[in-house]
């Protein structure tokens, strides 16, 4: 039972994270990842060479 709880929780976490992430991207495109990606591209990537 404890392992079933663990794996169901893990699955639910992934699903909720995916749905909330989609909400973040589509509902507020002016914040979050889209801006982060844009900034990353403008500054020439994230590696400190």
């Amino acid at each position: 039972m404890i392992l079933r709880m663990f794996f169901h929780t893990l699955a639910a976490t992934v699903i909720v994270a995916g749905l909330a992430g989609a909400w973040q991207v589509f509902a507020t495109p002016d914040t979050g990842w889209s801006v982060a990606v844009e900034n990353r591209q403008q500054t020439g990537g994230g590696h400190d060479d």
Binding site: I2, T9, L10, V16, A20, G32
Partner: protein, 154 residues
């Protein structure tokens, strides 16, 4: 298919145990995502996961209140505090009940923090969220300890 016909075929309906498992998974999953996305960059994610936590929590408490005594969806019923000295394992319902209350209080404070302009409530919500996560970790450790105790006593 009529409702009566649906109820006459219980195999089509999820069992109480399945409902409990799904509600537990959704509640803990949504809370975990809400906790991990408290950052300003992921504020919309935090809101979505936070409000989902409150919806699932309401469903869980609602189900727990409406079911009959002894049902598997029944809410935890902590015993007397004096019992904890004699039987430390009886702390489980206390932990579960306090986790439900802490999550509810953190969630409700989140609504106020979301609706009101930047204020002390934001900090209060953050603190309550941290406290709820600490209780959740204690709950997990306790469940694992009870499970291990059961395995080694066989």
């Amino acid at each position: 298919m009529t409702t009566e016909a649906l109820l006459a075929r219980p195999s089509l309906l999820p069992s109480a145990r399945t409902v409990k498992l799904v509600l537990h998974a959704l509640l803990s999953g949504a809370f975990l995502v809400a906790y991990a996305t408290g950052d300003e960059d992921t504020y919309a994610m935090h809101l979505a996961a936070g409000y989902l936590t409150l919806v699932v929590l309401t469903a869980r408490i609602g189900a727990g209140i409406t079911v009959s005594l002894g049902h598997s969806l029944q809410l935890p019923r902590p015993g007397r505090l004096s019992e904890l000295v004699k039987r430390p394992w009886s702390a489980m319902p206390w932990l579960t009940a306090s986790l439900l209350v802490a999550t509810a209080v953190a969630g409700i404070s989140g609504i106020f923090a979301d609706q009101l302009p930047r204020s002390l409530i934001g900090h209060l919500h953050e603190g309550l969220g941290e406290a709820a996560m600490d209780i959740a970790l204690a709950h997990i450790l306790f469940v694992v300890a009870v499970w291990l105790r059961g395995r080694f006593r066989r």
